[in-house]
Symmetry: C2
Subunit: 468 residues, 2 copies
């Protein structure tokens, strides 16, 4: 959709905006065709309002991003930065009349250094592309959100994404060493470092990670890498109750183990996955735990974990024979959300993280909430992190059910806070949870966060209506 | 030194300050005896100006800290927070007429949870006390600055301390999950979480780590713990040049190894340590590399690293026989700075971190600088991190030599920046490096950092004159 095919802008304001944008961007980078702009209106979250962008721009250079921000500042036009729009909180949703700033064409891997164990990338690099590229150097970029085949590093940074690896390797934030950021007024700021350590001034790098495009536009990132670990071996343990599975999780973590993955699927999820994939997971089980190690002797580590699962009451503990069988089990886990979506057509995926000692209480509470609202709520969890994804399944065509879905979703967040947890472990706040962010932060925290926002975005043009 | 022994305040301002402080603090927590206050005037950095505090307060509760900050805000009195004053950048140095706010009496460990793998502590807890306490639960708090036997967690958080462990386990910042902070106006703010993951709002926790008390007073911290690893086994490798040792470091890190420690001592340091301790380190060597593993099979890992050292030209590679011999080698390393201080009486310890691929260039440059200024500069380095501590030895009584020491110290920082590094890997900016922080950040970065400071400290009463 290049400029020549663009319809006439609807009014003078948009016309002026386009004229100004085109002084520093090639025509092929500026899109106003409503069919095109509509396709950039929202990410993958349910129940989040999205407006109609005035224009979608797809810059290829830092200078072009600077130009866009200078124009936006000059004309006071909101800017919504986007990666692959795989987010689950509406953080990339357009607002009416905004500039959608898609970073997907800035997709170059600029450097990979095995000695320094860093990669330098543009924001549009796809997570899987980076993973594969560094893998060729024997290196490993751990963060692996379930959308890793399509999501971008810029999006991962914006939402501080997690994944299955976090129980051992942590979240995106821990891999971002330095950033180049285009500020609201178009100036370029470098934060952080390329070195392994560095404490010169405030950690603005980390401030930008998870800021959902509300403080500036990340145009380059220095990422930390690790040596590639051995391939992981997975064990599956069945439990007669979710509580027993959570007890096993606590035993494993308190026992000094460091699994590379420790995931839980409840009965609803197991059945949904079987329904979708015919994988033949154990239907009768109330909770399935998957545990993996990528250590030098994973079989020995799995045996120790298997014994702990047994002590917690697991009737059945099955270690995978090899990495191929392990991969099948992981596929089952990875298909969970799609499988749950197939149950009733629509899902709302929550992302509440609790101290892992409270995981059992959390699951028990979610079951109670599902009963109260008469809804199916499947739970998959990064159990080793205490990070649950209670997934409310509902028929979006039924207004009553949709309302109950939203109410149960909120009640799950309230439960998470009550248990000492957070409303979001890895998906971010976006539009979906902004009222809840205020509850989690409290008035003082909220005031200081808003004040930080004002420092970087005095005109309020950066992704307005998100977070706060 | 309790209030009954305090001399009359020198003027009305101080009198009023004391009166106000004593409305919310017990007399025994408020010290104005000049001998006492003078002993709180500065940390362990050389060449940093320090003023005379008006008063030293030693609160025991969060409420008392809040009271101090309310009074400070009301009367516009600067507050200098302090831990054990083991810092090396003057970040805890008093300014004239300030309130020194020592957190050393808030030294309770409030919680240790093996399941959640967290500890909750007050800021005055000594690093070693925490390490030992969590060790009793089979847990490990990695950050180990060389002052770990005396320095406090609050000080570690303020300066974002590192240590020997960082090459595998990272720095203090990576272990701080959440904070309670008393703001400049006395309000209490909680940041972060107790959970393994969490992305609700901006990461203010990380903003406070390394902020040197310039944004607020940390009164409680939730710290991440790890399972206690096996005891590490150390190898010593001699090299005929510092360049060859740096080459070995690059081979080890590019080779996918994850040592628990990878340290370098140059010839000057080795000789100084022998002089002080009679340890009998190899005097003829130009550089000594210490490498350790805390893996299940450290001997095998050390053998692989030994081979890489050999390939880099090491004439002598000696693995320790056991953990006792390993501990001796680490003692040699840990005594380096004291040993260098003994050479000429005074040292300035630099803290430049470069990408590890530039470590050889850094060491070569430091040798050139030492020659240029006719000074002894010993280098110890957390080589695996590229974090060097070039230590300028000089006679402080000789003004010319002292001037040359400062000039060489600055030239080392300039070299670090030129090599793509940072002026501080783990010691912080304090008073010592504030001109250099401006150089490293550049005008835009500096402006934004100052603006963040203004959000949290609009009156400029929090540790003024530090960082900026």
């Amino acid at each position: 959709m290049i400029m020549s095919r663009i319809e006439a802008p609807s009014d003078d304001v948009t016309g002026n905006l386009l004229d100004r944008l085109l002084t520093g961007l090639p025509a092929e980078a500026v899109h106003t065709d409503p069919d095109v702009t509509a396709s950039y209106a929202h990410d993958m979250a349910s129940f989040c309002p999205a407006g109609a962008p005035a224009v979608v721009v797809l810059p290829r250079t830092v200078e072009q991003v600077q130009h866009v921000m200078r124009v936006a500042t000059e004309l006071r036009v909101p800017v919504v930065p986007q990666g692959a729009r795989t987010g689950l909180s509406g953080g990339a949703n357009a607002s009416d009349g905004c500039i959608v700033l898609s970073l997907t064409r800035m997709d170059r891997i600029l450097d990979i250094s095995p000695v320094d164990r860093v990669a330098v990338v543009e924001p549009g690099v796809v997570n899987a592309a980076l993973s594969r590229a560094v893998g060729e150097h024997g290196l490993y970029y751990p963060p692996d959100p379930s959308s890793w085949e399509t999501c971008t590093i810029g999006g991962n940074i914006g939402t501080a994404s997690g994944g299955l690896c976090c129980v051992k390797y942590g979240v995106t934030a821990e891999y971002v060493l330095g950033l180049d950021v285009v500020l609201a007024d178009g100036r370029l700021m470098s934060t952080g470092r390329r070195t392994a350590k560095g404490v010169a001034g405030y950690d603005l790098t980390r401030l930008f990670v998870g800021s959902e495009g509300s403080l500036g536009i990340v145009v380059r990132a220095v990422l930390a890498l690790r040596p590639q670990p051995p391939r992981q071996l997975v064990l599956a343990a069945e439990f007669a109750s979710a509580g027993a599975a959570c007890d096993a999780v606590c035993r494993v973590m308190a026992g000094g183990h460091t699994p590379s993955l420790l995931e839980l699927m409840d009965r609803t999820t197991v059945r949904a996955v079987n329904e979708l994939t015919r994988m033949g997971l154990p239907e009768a089980t109330e909770a399935l735990l998957l545990c993996a190690f990528d250590t030098p002797d994973p079989a020995a580590d799995l045996a120790a974990v298997g014994a702990l699962c047994g002590a917690a009451g697991a009737p059945q503990v099955v270690p995978a024979e090899d990495t191929a069988e392990s991969e099948l089990l992981l596929q089952a886990r990875r298909s969970s959300l799609v499988a749950l979506e197939a149950v009733t057509g629509t899902t709302m995926i929550d992302d509440v993280c609790v101290p892992r000692s409270r995981l059992g209480d959390m699951l028990e509470g979610v079951e109670r909430i599902a009963g109260k609202y008469g809804l199916t709520i499947g739970v998959v969890a990064h159990a080793g992190d205490g990070n649950t994804h209670p997934t409310v399944c509902f028929d979006a065509q039924d207004p009553g059910e949709a309302r109950r879905a939203r109410e149960s979703f909120d009640e799950i967040m309230a439960l998470g806070l009550e248990l000492g947890g957070t409303i979001t472990g890895e998906h971010g706040v976006g539009v979906l949870k902004k009222e809840w962010l205020a509850r989690e932060l409290g008035p003082v925290g909220l005031e200081m966060q808003r004040a930080v926002k004002d420092v970087f975005d005095p005109l309020g043009i950066l992704n307005p209506g998100k977070l706060f």
